[in-house]
């Protein structure tokens, strides 16, 4: 496919999703209370979008991932939360 064909097929959908992300961030800003590690990771992941790196999707996922290699002693929860809670603060 050419870039033109990709734009024809996907620009409107991507524009919609970008607007959703922007609206989400506006919503967070308007709300009271404290942020947490999730939004910090989200803001870090956003940098991958404008990086020029051709593996943006991979880099977004890596930003949210637990980079450690040792098993945890025991599972105290069943669910994942979307980003590694122990990511060092910037």
């Amino acid at each position: 496919m050419t870039k033109q064909r990709i734009l024809d097929l996907y620009f409107m959908d991507a524009r919609f999703k970008l607007t959703e992300i922007a609206a989400f961030l506006d919503r967070v800003d308007r709300a009271d209370g404290d942020e947490d590690f999730r939004i910090a990771a989200f803001r870090e992941a956003l940098k991958a979008l404008d990086s020029g790196d051709p593996e943006r999707a991979k880099n977004v996922l890596l930003t949210f991932s637990d980079p450690t290699e040792e098993p945890i002693p025991a599972a105290t929860t069943k669910a994942a939360c979307g980003t590694w809670p122990d990511r060092p603060a910037d």
Binding site: L9, D66, P71, A75, K78
Partner: protein, 270 residues
């Protein structure tokens, strides 16, 4: 166009879904054993579940001309209890004998804990002893990268297991290369929020090629779509992919992987 759903949790879907899948061209559904959404209280609960997978679901599928196969295991979310896991592992061989059971799955990790690894290793040992195919669940979201690396290393370290008889499911952009470099099959799961979208799955096909890869809906009791595979096939057509390419990914590849079990025989290949 024909297709195979290689990973569908039909115990949690209505019969309407079987009908819709048949209309969409589904020829076979393969159903790994998974978490019910709550922890089962004993191995007896698993025994009843395995009977549901091997007796009732095939009958429901057959009403619509769909072949049904299943996989056996105790899933990673219930693997913190080693005693329970041992009790369940003890009953698995009886079900592996059934004519519609393809192998051990979906084993894997959830939170990447020590007990989960112990139970994973016990399953791999059983698969090696019984010469079974292996279907692996990789963890969700932030746990997926670490879990995929752990799983691939554990399997690679067992020389009895042939990598080509292992499929690592739920790959995403940051894990697919790990799996393919290890010589194992990669499964892309078309599931909202926590896994892939159709477009990202097609992107991965275009970047990594169509060999040793399949796509699946993993439809279950959560918000999910049993028609995710045919919808992705339609998106592939929109991008200009040929019918031959689409058929290879959606039908040929699942047939090739699962055909490594002598039990996998399609009633209708058309």
């Amino acid at each position: 166009m024909r297709y195979i759903e290689p990973h569908g949790h039909m115990v949690s879907r209505t019969t309407d879904d079987y009908k819709a899948m048949a209309i969409a061209g589904c020829k076979a559904i393969c159903e790994p054993a998974f978490w019910a959404g709550f922890d089962r209280s004993s191995a007896d609960g698993f025994c009843d579940y395995f009977r549901q997978l091997t007796e009732y679901e095939p009958r429901r599928a057959a009403m619509f001309g769909i072949d049904h196969y299943s996989w056996m295991c105790i899933n990673p979310k219930e693997s913190e209890d080693i005693k329970l896991a041992d009790d369940v592992l003890a009953i698995i061989p009886e079900f592996i004998e059934k004519e519609n059971v393809l192998g051990i799955g979906e084993i894997g990790l959830n939170k990447n804990s020590r007990n989960e690894i112990t139970v994973l290793e016990k399953h791999i040992d059983l698969a090696a002893e019984l010469n079974q195919l292996i279907l692996v669940h990789t963890p969700h979201l932030e746990d997926k990268l670490k879990g995929t690396k752990l799983i691939v290393d554990i399997i690679r370290n067992d020389s009895r297991i042939e990598p080509g008889r292992v499929i690592i499911d739920h790959v995403e952009e940051h894990t697919i290369k790990i799996v393919k470099d290890a010589g194992m099959w990669a499964g892309m799961t078309l599931y909202p929020e926590s896994k892939c979208s159709p477009n990202r799955a097609i992107d991965m096909l275009e970047v990594f090629g169509s060999d040793n890869i399949w796509m699946n809906a993993a439809c279950d009791w959560g918000p999910s779509d049993p028609l995710a595979v045919p919808k992705t096939m339609q998106e592939m057509r929109r991008r200009g992919h040929t019918d031959e390419f689409i058929d290879k990914v959606a039908f040929g590849n699942p047939v090739r992987f699962m055909g490594q079990s002598p039990k996998f025989k399609l009633s209708d290949k058309s």
